[in-house]
Amino acid sequence: MNALKRLLGFVWMALAPLLVAFMFWQAADKISKASEATKSNITLQWAIILFIFIPVCIGLMIFGYYSVKGLYDHLPESSAEITD
Protein backbone atom coordinates (compact mmCIF):
# COMPACT_ATOMS: atom_id res chain seq x y z
CA MET A 1 0.00 0.00 0.00
CA ASN A 2 2.86 2.39 0.75
CA ALA A 3 4.20 1.94 -2.80
CA LEU A 4 0.75 2.84 -4.14
CA LYS A 5 0.59 5.91 -1.89
CA ARG A 6 3.93 7.11 -3.26
CA LEU A 7 2.95 6.37 -6.85
CA LEU A 8 -0.35 8.21 -6.49
CA GLY A 9 1.63 11.13 -5.09
CA PHE A 10 2.93 11.80 -8.60
CA VAL A 11 -0.66 11.81 -9.88
CA TRP A 12 -1.72 14.44 -7.32
CA MET A 13 1.32 16.56 -8.10
CA ALA A 14 0.47 16.49 -11.80
CA LEU A 15 -3.26 16.93 -11.29
CA ALA A 16 -2.99 20.15 -9.28
CA PRO A 17 -1.40 22.37 -12.00
CA LEU A 18 -3.72 20.81 -14.59
CA LEU A 19 -6.73 21.85 -12.51
CA VAL A 20 -5.39 25.38 -12.12
CA ALA A 21 -4.76 25.62 -15.87
CA PHE A 22 -8.27 24.30 -16.56
CA MET A 23 -9.83 26.86 -14.22
CA PHE A 24 -7.88 29.71 -15.85
CA TRP A 25 -8.95 28.50 -19.30
CA GLN A 26 -12.57 28.34 -18.19
CA ALA A 27 -12.38 31.77 -16.57
CA ALA A 28 -10.89 33.35 -19.71
CA ASP A 29 -13.44 31.59 -21.92
CA LYS A 30 -16.47 32.61 -19.87
CA ILE A 31 -15.29 36.18 -19.37
CA SER A 32 -14.56 36.63 -23.07
CA LYS A 33 -18.00 35.28 -24.02
CA ALA A 34 -19.86 37.45 -21.47
CA SER A 35 -21.89 40.41 -22.68
CA GLU A 36 -20.77 43.93 -21.72
CA ALA A 37 -23.55 44.14 -19.15
CA THR A 38 -22.47 41.00 -17.29
CA LYS A 39 -18.71 41.01 -17.95
CA SER A 40 -17.62 42.67 -14.69
CA ASN A 41 -19.89 40.41 -12.66
CA ILE A 42 -18.64 37.23 -14.31
CA THR A 43 -15.04 38.44 -13.91
CA LEU A 44 -15.66 38.90 -10.18
CA GLN A 45 -17.21 35.42 -9.85
CA TRP A 46 -14.21 33.79 -11.49
CA ALA A 47 -11.73 35.93 -9.57
CA ILE A 48 -13.26 34.63 -6.33
CA ILE A 49 -13.20 31.03 -7.55
CA LEU A 50 -9.57 31.28 -8.68
CA PHE A 51 -8.59 33.07 -5.47
CA ILE A 52 -9.85 30.18 -3.37
CA PHE A 53 -9.04 27.28 -5.72
CA ILE A 54 -5.39 28.12 -6.37
CA PRO A 55 -4.35 27.63 -2.70
CA VAL A 56 -6.42 24.42 -2.60
CA CYS A 57 -4.60 23.12 -5.70
CA ILE A 58 -1.28 24.09 -4.14
CA GLY A 59 -2.43 22.05 -1.14
CA LEU A 60 -3.11 19.07 -3.43
CA MET A 61 0.37 19.43 -4.89
CA ILE A 62 1.93 19.49 -1.42
CA PHE A 63 -0.19 16.46 -0.52
CA GLY A 64 1.27 14.68 -3.56
CA TYR A 65 4.77 15.74 -2.61
CA TYR A 66 4.34 14.46 0.95
CA SER A 67 3.02 11.17 -0.48
CA VAL A 68 6.04 10.77 -2.74
CA LYS A 69 8.35 11.52 0.19
CA GLY A 70 6.65 8.76 2.19
CA LEU A 71 5.15 10.99 4.88
CA TYR A 72 1.91 9.03 4.72
CA ASP A 73 3.59 5.63 5.00
CA HIS A 74 2.96 5.81 8.71
CA LEU A 75 0.15 7.88 10.21
CA PRO A 76 0.61 9.17 13.77
CA GLU A 77 -0.73 6.95 16.55
CA SER A 78 -0.74 9.73 19.13
CA SER A 79 -0.34 13.48 19.32
CA ALA A 80 3.19 13.02 20.60
CA GLU A 81 4.11 12.10 17.02
CA ILE A 82 2.73 15.38 15.71
CA THR A 83 5.76 17.48 16.61
CA ASP A 84 8.36 19.01 14.37
Binding site: W12, Q26, S40, N41, Q45, I62, P76, T83, D84
Partner: protein, 559 residues
Protein backbone atom coordinates in the same frame (compact mmCIF):
# COMPACT_ATOMS: atom_id res chain seq x y z
CA UNK B 1 -13.26 16.75 37.32
CA UNK B 2 -11.54 17.07 33.98
CA UNK B 3 -11.37 13.37 33.18
CA UNK B 4 -14.48 12.15 34.97
CA UNK B 5 -16.92 10.48 32.56
CA UNK B 6 -20.24 12.27 32.31
CA UNK B 7 -23.60 10.62 32.82
CA UNK B 8 -25.99 10.32 29.89
CA UNK B 9 -27.99 13.19 31.42
CA UNK B 10 -24.90 15.36 31.61
CA UNK B 11 -23.98 14.52 28.03
CA UNK B 12 -27.58 15.19 27.03
CA UNK B 13 -27.34 18.75 28.36
CA UNK B 14 -24.02 19.31 26.60
CA UNK B 15 -25.37 17.95 23.33
CA UNK B 16 -28.59 19.95 23.64
CA UNK B 17 -26.84 23.20 24.49
CA UNK B 18 -24.24 22.81 21.75
CA UNK B 19 -26.65 21.54 19.12
CA UNK B 20 -29.31 24.21 19.56
CA UNK B 21 -26.78 26.95 18.92
CA UNK B 22 -25.28 25.20 15.92
CA UNK B 23 -28.73 24.48 14.51
CA UNK B 24 -29.63 28.16 14.80
CA UNK B 25 -26.43 29.17 13.03
CA UNK B 26 -27.26 26.85 10.13
CA UNK B 27 -30.82 28.16 10.09
CA UNK B 28 -29.51 31.73 9.93
CA UNK B 29 -27.13 30.91 7.10
CA UNK B 30 -29.74 29.02 5.07
CA UNK B 31 -32.58 31.54 5.21
CA UNK B 32 -30.50 34.06 3.29
CA UNK B 33 -29.85 31.51 0.52
CA UNK B 34 -33.46 30.37 0.41
CA UNK B 35 -34.78 33.91 0.21
CA UNK B 36 -32.05 34.98 -2.23
CA UNK B 37 -34.50 35.83 -5.01
CA UNK B 38 -36.54 38.16 -2.79
CA UNK B 39 -33.44 39.62 -1.13
CA UNK B 40 -31.99 40.28 -4.55
CA UNK B 41 -35.17 42.08 -5.62
CA UNK B 42 -35.34 44.16 -2.43
CA UNK B 43 -31.66 45.06 -2.09
CA UNK B 44 -29.92 44.44 -5.40
CA UNK B 45 -31.93 45.96 -8.31
CA UNK B 46 -31.48 44.00 -11.53
CA UNK B 47 -30.91 46.95 -13.81
CA UNK B 48 -27.73 48.04 -12.02
CA UNK B 49 -24.32 46.51 -12.76
CA UNK B 50 -22.88 47.64 -9.41
CA UNK B 51 -25.74 46.04 -7.61
CA UNK B 52 -25.14 42.75 -9.43
CA UNK B 53 -21.50 42.89 -8.31
CA UNK B 54 -22.52 43.39 -4.68
CA UNK B 55 -24.99 40.54 -4.99
CA UNK B 56 -22.28 38.25 -6.34
CA UNK B 57 -19.99 39.23 -3.50
CA UNK B 58 -22.73 38.49 -0.97
CA UNK B 59 -23.40 35.05 -2.40
CA UNK B 60 -19.92 33.91 -3.45
CA UNK B 61 -17.59 35.60 -1.00
CA UNK B 62 -19.62 34.68 2.10
CA UNK B 63 -19.44 30.98 1.33
CA UNK B 64 -16.12 30.57 -0.40
CA UNK B 65 -13.76 33.09 1.18
CA UNK B 66 -15.19 34.30 4.45
CA UNK B 67 -16.20 30.87 5.79
CA UNK B 68 -12.68 29.40 5.63
CA UNK B 69 -11.34 32.73 6.92
CA UNK B 70 -13.78 32.50 9.85
CA UNK B 71 -12.48 28.97 10.50
CA UNK B 72 -8.97 30.39 10.87
CA UNK B 73 -9.97 33.40 12.99
CA UNK B 74 -12.25 31.57 15.41
CA UNK B 75 -10.30 28.31 15.33
CA UNK B 76 -7.24 30.21 16.55
CA UNK B 77 -9.33 31.99 19.18
CA UNK B 78 -10.85 28.70 20.35
CA UNK B 79 -7.41 27.17 20.81
CA UNK B 80 -6.17 30.26 22.66
CA UNK B 81 -9.03 31.31 24.97
CA UNK B 82 -11.22 28.21 24.95
CA UNK B 83 -14.11 26.59 23.15
CA UNK B 84 -16.98 27.98 25.24
CA UNK B 85 -16.37 31.70 24.79
CA UNK B 86 -15.47 31.33 21.13
CA UNK B 87 -18.64 29.60 20.10
CA UNK B 88 -20.65 32.01 22.23
CA UNK B 89 -19.09 34.82 20.22
CA UNK B 90 -19.88 33.16 16.87
CA UNK B 91 -23.49 32.70 17.99
CA UNK B 92 -23.86 36.38 18.93
CA UNK B 93 -22.33 37.48 15.63
CA UNK B 94 -24.49 35.16 13.58
CA UNK B 95 -27.73 35.97 15.41
CA UNK B 96 -27.05 39.70 15.46
CA UNK B 97 -26.22 39.92 11.77
CA UNK B 98 -29.22 37.78 10.79
CA UNK B 99 -31.62 39.91 12.81
CA UNK B 100 -30.06 43.06 11.37
CA UNK B 101 -30.56 41.84 7.77
CA UNK B 102 -34.27 41.67 8.57
CA UNK B 103 -34.19 45.33 9.63
CA UNK B 104 -32.40 46.86 6.64
CA UNK B 105 -34.86 48.93 4.54
CA UNK B 106 -35.01 48.11 0.83
CA UNK B 107 -33.12 49.80 -2.03
CA UNK B 108 -36.23 51.85 -2.82
CA UNK B 109 -36.06 53.48 0.62
CA UNK B 110 -32.39 54.00 1.44
CA UNK B 111 -30.69 53.46 -1.94
CA UNK B 112 -27.13 52.13 -2.06
CA UNK B 113 -26.85 51.88 1.71
CA UNK B 114 -29.19 48.86 1.50
CA UNK B 115 -27.05 46.48 -0.61
CA UNK B 116 -23.85 47.59 1.13
CA UNK B 117 -25.31 46.92 4.59
CA UNK B 118 -26.69 43.55 3.51
CA UNK B 119 -23.35 42.58 1.98
CA UNK B 120 -21.48 43.45 5.20
CA UNK B 121 -23.98 41.54 7.34
CA UNK B 122 -23.84 38.52 5.04
CA UNK B 123 -20.05 38.47 5.30
CA UNK B 124 -20.34 38.56 9.11
CA UNK B 125 -22.69 35.56 8.84
CA UNK B 126 -20.11 33.64 6.79
CA UNK B 127 -17.38 34.53 9.26
CA UNK B 128 -19.43 33.34 12.23
CA UNK B 129 -20.43 30.07 10.54
CA UNK B 130 -16.75 29.39 9.86
CA UNK B 131 -16.09 29.47 13.58
CA UNK B 132 -19.16 27.71 14.95
CA UNK B 133 -19.03 24.12 13.78
CA UNK B 134 -15.45 23.33 14.80
CA UNK B 135 -16.13 24.67 18.27
CA UNK B 136 -19.33 22.72 18.81
CA UNK B 137 -17.93 19.44 17.45
CA UNK B 138 -14.72 19.81 19.48
CA UNK B 139 -16.62 20.75 22.61
CA UNK B 140 -18.93 17.72 22.44
CA UNK B 141 -16.16 15.30 21.45
CA UNK B 142 -13.98 16.46 24.32
CA UNK B 143 -16.76 15.59 26.77
CA UNK B 144 -17.74 12.27 25.22
CA UNK B 145 -16.42 8.88 26.37
CA UNK B 146 -14.06 7.30 23.80
CA UNK B 147 -16.32 4.35 22.98
CA UNK B 148 -19.33 6.64 22.32
CA UNK B 149 -17.65 9.59 20.62
CA UNK B 150 -19.21 8.86 17.23
CA UNK B 151 -22.65 8.56 18.78
CA UNK B 152 -22.52 11.79 20.78
CA UNK B 153 -20.92 13.93 18.09
CA UNK B 154 -23.44 12.70 15.52
CA UNK B 155 -26.09 14.78 17.30
CA UNK B 156 -24.13 17.86 16.31
CA UNK B 157 -24.12 16.49 12.77
CA UNK B 158 -27.92 16.47 12.65
CA UNK B 159 -28.00 20.25 13.14
CA UNK B 160 -26.98 21.20 9.59
CA UNK B 161 -29.87 19.20 8.16
CA UNK B 162 -32.33 20.19 10.88
CA UNK B 163 -31.34 23.83 10.36
CA UNK B 164 -32.35 23.41 6.73
CA UNK B 165 -35.61 21.77 7.83
CA UNK B 166 -36.38 24.61 10.24
CA UNK B 167 -35.57 27.28 7.66
CA UNK B 168 -37.67 25.60 4.95
CA UNK B 169 -40.55 24.96 7.34
CA UNK B 170 -40.71 28.51 8.69
CA UNK B 171 -40.48 30.09 5.24
CA UNK B 172 -43.22 27.86 3.79
CA UNK B 173 -45.46 28.46 6.81
CA UNK B 174 -45.19 32.26 6.60
CA UNK B 175 -45.47 32.31 2.80
CA UNK B 176 -48.59 30.13 2.86
CA UNK B 177 -50.28 32.11 5.61
CA UNK B 178 -49.56 35.52 4.03
CA UNK B 179 -49.84 34.86 0.32
CA UNK B 180 -47.06 35.46 -2.19
CA UNK B 181 -47.63 39.20 -2.72
CA UNK B 182 -47.57 40.21 0.95
CA UNK B 183 -44.71 37.84 1.65
CA UNK B 184 -42.48 39.39 -1.00
CA UNK B 185 -43.30 43.07 -0.33
CA UNK B 186 -40.63 45.39 1.18
CA UNK B 187 -41.65 44.85 4.81
CA UNK B 188 -43.40 41.56 4.11
CA UNK B 189 -43.22 38.12 5.65
CA UNK B 190 -39.84 37.24 4.15
CA UNK B 191 -38.32 39.34 6.97
CA UNK B 192 -39.95 37.30 9.75
CA UNK B 193 -37.51 34.35 9.54
CA UNK B 194 -34.70 36.87 10.14
CA UNK B 195 -36.47 38.37 13.15
CA UNK B 196 -37.35 34.97 14.58
CA UNK B 197 -33.62 34.30 14.69
CA UNK B 198 -33.17 36.84 17.49
CA UNK B 199 -35.48 34.92 19.77
CA UNK B 200 -33.77 31.62 18.99
CA UNK B 201 -30.32 33.10 19.54
CA UNK B 202 -31.24 34.65 22.91
CA UNK B 203 -32.52 31.28 24.15
CA UNK B 204 -29.37 29.58 22.89
CA UNK B 205 -27.06 32.15 24.47
CA UNK B 206 -28.76 31.73 27.84
CA UNK B 207 -28.27 27.96 27.59
CA UNK B 208 -24.66 28.22 26.45
CA UNK B 209 -23.79 30.67 29.25
CA UNK B 210 -24.56 27.85 31.70
CA UNK B 211 -22.03 25.53 30.09
CA UNK B 212 -18.56 25.06 31.48
CA UNK B 213 -15.35 24.93 29.46
CA UNK B 214 -14.34 21.69 27.73
CA UNK B 215 -12.58 19.49 30.32
CA UNK B 216 -9.72 18.65 27.95
CA UNK B 217 -9.08 22.27 27.07
CA UNK B 218 -9.33 23.22 30.77
CA UNK B 219 -6.74 20.53 31.56
CA UNK B 220 -4.38 21.69 28.83
CA UNK B 221 -4.79 25.25 30.05
CA UNK B 222 -4.21 24.31 33.68
CA UNK B 223 -1.00 22.51 32.69
CA UNK B 224 0.17 25.55 30.74
CA UNK B 225 0.30 23.59 27.50
CA UNK B 226 -1.87 25.90 25.40
CA UNK B 227 -0.53 26.56 21.95
CA UNK B 228 1.16 29.95 21.64
CA UNK B 229 0.50 30.12 17.92
CA UNK B 230 -2.22 27.69 16.78
CA UNK B 231 -2.06 28.78 13.13
CA UNK B 232 1.68 28.15 12.92
CA UNK B 233 1.43 24.83 14.74
CA UNK B 234 -1.51 23.70 12.61
CA UNK B 235 -0.29 24.68 9.16
CA UNK B 236 3.38 25.51 9.61
CA UNK B 237 4.42 22.18 11.10
CA UNK B 238 4.67 19.45 8.51
CA UNK B 239 3.55 16.60 10.78
CA UNK B 240 0.21 18.33 11.48
CA UNK B 241 -0.24 19.99 8.12
CA UNK B 242 -0.04 16.64 6.36
CA UNK B 243 -3.02 15.51 8.50
CA UNK B 244 -4.94 18.68 7.59
CA UNK B 245 -4.39 17.89 3.90
CA UNK B 246 -5.35 14.26 4.39
CA UNK B 247 -8.56 15.25 6.21
CA UNK B 248 -9.47 17.64 3.39
CA UNK B 249 -8.70 15.49 0.35
CA UNK B 250 -9.40 12.05 1.82
CA UNK B 251 -12.70 12.76 3.57
CA UNK B 252 -14.18 16.26 3.87
CA UNK B 253 -13.94 17.13 0.17
CA UNK B 254 -16.00 14.06 -0.79
CA UNK B 255 -18.35 14.52 2.14
CA UNK B 256 -18.97 18.15 1.11
CA UNK B 257 -20.10 17.30 -2.42
CA UNK B 258 -22.25 14.37 -1.28
CA UNK B 259 -23.94 16.63 1.25
CA UNK B 260 -24.62 19.53 -1.13
CA UNK B 261 -25.79 17.24 -3.92
CA UNK B 262 -28.21 15.32 -1.68
CA UNK B 263 -29.84 18.35 -0.12
CA UNK B 264 -29.30 21.44 -2.23
CA UNK B 265 -28.65 20.27 -5.77
CA UNK B 266 -31.58 17.86 -5.47
CA UNK B 267 -33.96 20.67 -4.56
CA UNK B 268 -32.61 22.97 -7.23
CA UNK B 269 -32.83 20.22 -9.88
CA UNK B 270 -36.38 19.26 -8.93
CA UNK B 271 -37.51 22.88 -9.01
CA UNK B 272 -35.51 24.35 -11.91
CA UNK B 273 -34.93 21.41 -14.25
CA UNK B 274 -37.96 19.21 -13.54
CA UNK B 275 -40.08 22.38 -13.04
CA UNK B 276 -41.88 21.06 -9.98
CA UNK B 277 -43.72 23.89 -8.20
CA UNK B 278 -42.36 25.79 -5.16
CA UNK B 279 -44.40 24.01 -2.52
CA UNK B 280 -44.08 20.44 -3.85
CA UNK B 281 -40.32 20.74 -4.36
CA UNK B 282 -39.81 21.97 -0.80
CA UNK B 283 -42.19 19.47 0.73
CA UNK B 284 -40.24 16.66 -0.96
CA UNK B 285 -37.04 17.84 0.75
CA UNK B 286 -38.76 18.46 4.10
CA UNK B 287 -40.27 14.98 4.30
CA UNK B 288 -37.08 13.27 3.13
CA UNK B 289 -35.06 15.17 5.76
CA UNK B 290 -37.51 14.23 8.48
CA UNK B 291 -37.18 10.52 7.78
CA UNK B 292 -33.43 10.52 7.10
CA UNK B 293 -32.20 12.61 10.05
CA UNK B 294 -32.17 9.77 12.63
CA UNK B 295 -29.60 8.00 10.43
CA UNK B 296 -26.95 10.59 11.35
CA UNK B 297 -27.08 9.16 14.86
CA UNK B 298 -27.33 5.56 13.64
CA UNK B 299 -24.21 5.85 11.45
CA UNK B 300 -22.38 7.93 14.05
CA UNK B 301 -23.06 5.22 16.61
CA UNK B 302 -22.12 2.46 14.16
CA UNK B 303 -18.79 4.19 13.55
CA UNK B 304 -17.94 3.61 17.24
CA UNK B 305 -18.06 -0.12 16.53
CA UNK B 306 -16.75 -0.56 12.98
CA UNK B 307 -14.61 2.58 12.57
CA UNK B 308 -15.29 5.85 10.78
CA UNK B 309 -13.54 5.30 7.47
CA UNK B 310 -15.57 2.63 5.71
CA UNK B 311 -18.96 4.14 6.54
CA UNK B 312 -17.87 7.42 4.96
CA UNK B 313 -16.34 5.65 1.97
CA UNK B 314 -19.50 3.61 1.44
CA UNK B 315 -21.57 6.82 1.37
CA UNK B 316 -19.28 8.19 -1.35
CA UNK B 317 -19.36 4.95 -3.40
CA UNK B 318 -23.18 4.85 -3.32
CA UNK B 319 -23.39 8.48 -4.41
CA UNK B 320 -20.95 7.92 -7.26
CA UNK B 321 -22.85 4.88 -8.55
CA UNK B 322 -26.41 6.08 -8.15
CA UNK B 323 -26.55 9.85 -8.75
CA UNK B 324 -27.06 9.68 -12.49
CA UNK B 325 -29.76 6.96 -12.37
CA UNK B 326 -31.58 8.87 -9.59
CA UNK B 327 -31.61 12.20 -11.43
CA UNK B 328 -32.53 10.49 -14.69
CA UNK B 329 -35.53 9.03 -12.88
CA UNK B 330 -36.52 12.52 -11.66
CA UNK B 331 -36.59 13.66 -15.29
CA UNK B 332 -38.47 10.62 -16.56
CA UNK B 333 -41.15 10.87 -13.88
CA UNK B 334 -41.91 14.51 -14.64
CA UNK B 335 -41.66 14.42 -18.44
CA UNK B 336 -45.06 15.22 -20.05
CA UNK B 337 -44.29 12.72 -22.85
CA UNK B 338 -44.40 9.90 -20.30
CA UNK B 339 -47.86 10.87 -19.10
CA UNK B 340 -51.32 10.48 -20.55
CA UNK B 341 -53.30 13.67 -20.94
CA UNK B 342 -56.96 13.55 -19.96
CA UNK B 343 -58.95 13.42 -23.20
CA UNK B 344 -61.88 15.17 -21.60
CA UNK B 345 -60.97 18.71 -22.64
CA UNK B 346 -63.07 20.29 -19.92
CA UNK B 347 -60.32 19.12 -17.58
CA UNK B 348 -57.72 21.16 -19.43
CA UNK B 349 -58.50 24.53 -18.00
CA UNK B 350 -57.46 28.01 -19.03
CA UNK B 351 -57.53 30.67 -16.31
CA UNK B 352 -58.69 34.18 -17.24
CA UNK B 353 -55.89 36.27 -18.77
CA UNK B 354 -54.44 39.06 -16.61
CA UNK B 355 -53.12 42.35 -17.99
CA UNK B 356 -50.62 44.40 -15.98
CA UNK B 357 -50.16 48.00 -17.15
CA UNK B 358 -46.60 49.35 -17.02
CA UNK B 359 -46.43 52.09 -14.37
CA UNK B 360 -44.24 54.39 -16.50
CA UNK B 361 -45.54 53.63 -19.99
CA UNK B 362 -49.26 52.98 -20.25
CA UNK B 363 -48.95 51.81 -23.86
CA UNK B 364 -47.01 48.79 -22.57
CA UNK B 365 -48.95 45.88 -21.06
CA UNK B 366 -47.83 42.51 -19.75
CA UNK B 367 -50.48 39.98 -20.66
CA UNK B 368 -50.35 36.66 -18.81
CA UNK B 369 -52.39 33.66 -19.83
CA UNK B 370 -52.39 30.53 -17.68
CA UNK B 371 -53.66 27.13 -18.66
CA UNK B 372 -53.52 23.79 -16.90
CA UNK B 373 -52.92 20.43 -18.49
CA UNK B 374 -54.43 17.65 -16.41
CA UNK B 375 -53.10 14.09 -16.65
CA UNK B 376 -54.75 10.77 -15.91
CA UNK B 377 -52.51 10.15 -12.89
CA UNK B 378 -53.69 13.40 -11.25
CA UNK B 379 -50.69 15.58 -12.11
CA UNK B 380 -51.45 19.15 -13.21
CA UNK B 381 -48.92 21.11 -15.27
CA UNK B 382 -49.54 24.86 -15.36
CA UNK B 383 -48.19 26.93 -18.26
CA UNK B 384 -48.01 30.71 -17.79
CA UNK B 385 -47.41 32.60 -21.02
CA UNK B 386 -46.47 36.25 -20.61
CA UNK B 387 -46.57 38.47 -23.70
CA UNK B 388 -45.49 42.12 -23.83
CA UNK B 389 -48.04 44.12 -25.82
CA UNK B 390 -47.38 47.56 -27.27
CA UNK B 391 -50.64 49.50 -27.74
CA UNK B 392 -51.64 52.18 -30.18
CA UNK B 393 -53.03 54.32 -27.33
CA UNK B 394 -52.52 54.21 -23.52
CA UNK B 395 -54.58 51.77 -21.45
CA UNK B 396 -56.07 53.06 -18.20
CA UNK B 397 -57.10 51.02 -15.20
CA UNK B 398 -60.58 52.52 -15.07
CA UNK B 399 -62.64 49.36 -15.57
CA UNK B 400 -62.06 45.74 -14.59
CA UNK B 401 -61.48 44.21 -18.04
CA UNK B 402 -59.64 44.94 -21.26
CA UNK B 403 -60.07 43.47 -24.71
CA UNK B 404 -56.96 43.50 -26.91
CA UNK B 405 -57.29 43.41 -30.68
CA UNK B 406 -54.15 41.65 -31.90
CA UNK B 407 -52.42 42.52 -35.23
CA UNK B 408 -53.84 39.35 -36.84
CA UNK B 409 -57.38 40.27 -35.84
CA UNK B 410 -57.76 37.91 -32.86
CA UNK B 411 -59.18 39.33 -29.66
CA UNK B 412 -58.00 38.48 -26.15
CA UNK B 413 -60.04 39.59 -23.16
CA UNK B 414 -58.39 39.87 -19.76
CA UNK B 415 -58.76 41.18 -16.23
CA UNK B 416 -56.76 44.31 -15.48
CA UNK B 417 -54.30 43.71 -12.65
CA UNK B 418 -54.47 46.41 -9.99
CA UNK B 419 -52.74 47.11 -6.70
CA UNK B 420 -53.93 44.98 -3.79
CA UNK B 421 -57.40 45.82 -2.38
CA UNK B 422 -58.33 48.05 -5.36
CA UNK B 423 -61.60 46.98 -6.96
CA UNK B 424 -62.41 48.36 -10.42
CA UNK B 425 -65.95 48.82 -11.73
CA UNK B 426 -67.17 46.26 -14.27
CA UNK B 427 -66.72 47.15 -17.92
CA UNK B 428 -64.47 46.50 -20.92
CA UNK B 429 -61.88 48.85 -22.38
CA UNK B 430 -60.84 48.09 -25.99
CA UNK B 431 -57.25 48.50 -27.15
CA UNK B 432 -55.48 47.90 -30.46
CA UNK B 433 -52.14 46.11 -30.22
CA UNK B 434 -49.48 47.54 -32.57
CA UNK B 435 -46.89 44.87 -31.81
CA UNK B 436 -46.07 42.19 -29.26
CA UNK B 437 -42.98 40.26 -28.12
CA UNK B 438 -41.54 37.86 -30.68
CA UNK B 439 -40.97 35.17 -28.03
CA UNK B 440 -43.45 35.30 -25.13
CA UNK B 441 -42.00 34.07 -21.83
CA UNK B 442 -43.40 30.69 -20.85
CA UNK B 443 -43.16 29.41 -17.29
CA UNK B 444 -44.04 25.82 -16.51
CA UNK B 445 -44.97 24.69 -13.00
CA UNK B 446 -45.82 21.11 -12.24
CA UNK B 447 -48.06 19.90 -9.43
CA UNK B 448 -47.17 16.27 -8.96
CA UNK B 449 -49.46 13.30 -8.67
CA UNK B 450 -49.23 11.37 -5.40
CA UNK B 451 -47.22 8.46 -6.81
CA UNK B 452 -44.54 10.68 -8.35
CA UNK B 453 -44.42 12.91 -5.27
CA UNK B 454 -43.72 10.01 -2.90
CA UNK B 455 -41.34 8.41 -5.38
CA UNK B 456 -39.33 11.63 -5.40
CA UNK B 457 -39.42 11.78 -1.60
CA UNK B 458 -37.94 8.27 -1.57
CA UNK B 459 -35.15 9.18 -4.00
CA UNK B 460 -34.23 12.32 -2.05
CA UNK B 461 -34.38 10.28 1.16
CA UNK B 462 -31.87 7.83 -0.37
CA UNK B 463 -29.54 10.72 -1.20
CA UNK B 464 -29.82 12.15 2.31
CA UNK B 465 -29.07 8.67 3.60
CA UNK B 466 -25.72 8.95 1.80
CA UNK B 467 -25.30 12.33 3.48
CA UNK B 468 -25.84 10.72 6.88
CA UNK B 469 -23.19 8.08 6.06
CA UNK B 470 -20.50 10.59 5.12
CA UNK B 471 -21.49 13.31 7.58
CA UNK B 472 -22.62 11.34 10.67
CA UNK B 473 -19.14 10.07 11.66
CA UNK B 474 -17.03 12.96 10.37
CA UNK B 475 -16.95 15.08 13.54
CA UNK B 476 -15.51 12.19 15.55
CA UNK B 477 -13.13 11.41 12.68
CA UNK B 478 -11.79 14.99 12.55
CA UNK B 479 -11.51 15.39 16.30
CA UNK B 480 -9.43 12.22 16.54
CA UNK B 481 -6.95 13.41 13.91
CA UNK B 482 -5.62 16.43 15.81
CA UNK B 483 -4.15 17.22 19.25
CA UNK B 484 -6.23 19.12 21.82
CA UNK B 485 -4.15 22.28 21.83
CA UNK B 486 -4.65 22.97 18.08
CA UNK B 487 -7.76 20.89 17.42
CA UNK B 488 -10.23 23.74 16.86
CA UNK B 489 -7.98 25.43 14.27
CA UNK B 490 -6.82 22.24 12.55
CA UNK B 491 -10.24 20.71 12.00
CA UNK B 492 -12.14 23.90 11.16
CA UNK B 493 -10.19 24.83 8.04
CA UNK B 494 -10.48 21.52 6.13
CA UNK B 495 -14.13 21.27 7.20
CA UNK B 496 -15.03 24.67 5.76
CA UNK B 497 -12.97 24.27 2.59
CA UNK B 498 -14.51 20.84 1.99
CA UNK B 499 -18.05 21.99 2.64
CA UNK B 500 -18.03 25.70 1.86
CA UNK B 501 -15.84 25.54 -1.24
CA UNK B 502 -16.13 22.05 -2.75
CA UNK B 503 -19.71 21.56 -1.58
CA UNK B 504 -20.79 25.15 -2.11
CA UNK B 505 -19.62 25.11 -5.71
CA UNK B 506 -21.87 22.16 -6.65
CA UNK B 507 -24.69 24.35 -8.07
CA UNK B 508 -22.35 26.79 -9.87
CA UNK B 509 -20.03 24.22 -11.43
CA UNK B 510 -22.95 21.89 -12.12
CA UNK B 511 -24.59 24.62 -14.21
CA UNK B 512 -21.28 25.39 -15.91
CA UNK B 513 -20.81 21.77 -16.98
CA UNK B 514 -24.34 21.66 -18.42
CA UNK B 515 -23.33 24.71 -20.51
CA UNK B 516 -20.51 22.64 -22.09
CA UNK B 517 -23.02 20.16 -23.42
CA UNK B 518 -25.18 22.72 -25.22
CA UNK B 519 -24.95 22.51 -28.99
CA UNK B 520 -26.91 23.90 -31.94
CA UNK B 521 -28.73 20.60 -32.30
CA UNK B 522 -29.31 20.28 -28.53
CA UNK B 523 -29.64 23.85 -27.18
CA UNK B 524 -30.82 22.64 -23.76
CA UNK B 525 -27.73 20.46 -23.25
CA UNK B 526 -27.54 17.37 -21.07
CA UNK B 527 -29.32 18.20 -17.79
CA UNK B 528 -27.50 15.34 -16.04
CA UNK B 529 -24.03 16.55 -17.01
CA UNK B 530 -23.81 18.80 -13.93
CA UNK B 531 -23.54 15.70 -11.78
CA UNK B 532 -20.04 14.99 -13.12
CA UNK B 533 -18.61 17.60 -10.76
CA UNK B 534 -19.79 15.99 -7.47
CA UNK B 535 -19.16 12.52 -8.91
CA UNK B 536 -15.61 13.47 -9.96
CA UNK B 537 -14.74 15.07 -6.62
CA UNK B 538 -16.24 12.12 -4.73
CA UNK B 539 -14.16 9.67 -6.81
CA UNK B 540 -10.97 11.63 -6.07
CA UNK B 541 -11.77 11.77 -2.35
CA UNK B 542 -12.73 8.09 -2.33
CA UNK B 543 -9.41 7.01 -3.86
CA UNK B 544 -7.43 9.12 -1.39
CA UNK B 545 -9.57 8.00 1.53
CA UNK B 546 -9.36 4.30 0.69
CA UNK B 547 -5.60 4.33 0.08
CA UNK B 548 -4.38 6.77 2.73
CA UNK B 549 -6.81 6.76 5.67
CA UNK B 550 -6.78 4.36 8.60
CA UNK B 551 -9.95 2.84 9.98
CA UNK B 552 -8.66 3.19 13.51
CA UNK B 553 -10.70 4.80 16.29
CA UNK B 554 -8.43 6.96 18.43
CA UNK B 555 -9.29 6.06 22.02
CA UNK B 556 -7.26 8.88 23.48
CA UNK B 557 -8.08 12.41 22.38
CA UNK B 558 -6.76 13.89 25.61
CA UNK B 559 -3.28 14.43 24.21
Amino acid sequence: MANQPLTNKGMGFIIGASSVGTLIEWYDFYIFGMLATIISKQFFPEDSGTSALLSTLAIFAAGFIVRPFGALVFGRLGDLIGRKYTFLLTLVLMGGSTFAIGLVPGFQTIGWAAPILVLILRLVQGLALGGEYGGAATYVAEHAPAHRRGFWTSWIQTTATLGLFLALGIIILIRQSQGVETFTSEWGGWRYPFWISLLLVIVSIVIRMRMSESPLFAKVKAEGKISKNPLKESFGHRSNFKMVLLALFGAVMGQGVIWYTGQFYAQSFIENVCKVNFIDSRNIILIAILFATPFFVIFGSLSDRVGRKWIMMLGMILGIISYRPIYKTFLEWTKPANKTELVNLTETKASPAVAAIDAKDQTKVLLTVKYDTVYTDGAVYTHSKTDTLHLASPLKASVANASFIMPGGDTITSHIKTAKDVVLPEGIQYASVSSHSAKPGVVLEKSLDKGTFWGMVLLVFVQILYVTMVYGPIAAFLVELFPTKIRYTSMSLPYHIGNGVFGGLVPFLGTLIVEFTKTDTNPAGDPLAGLWYPIGVAILSLIIGVVYLQNKIDENVMD
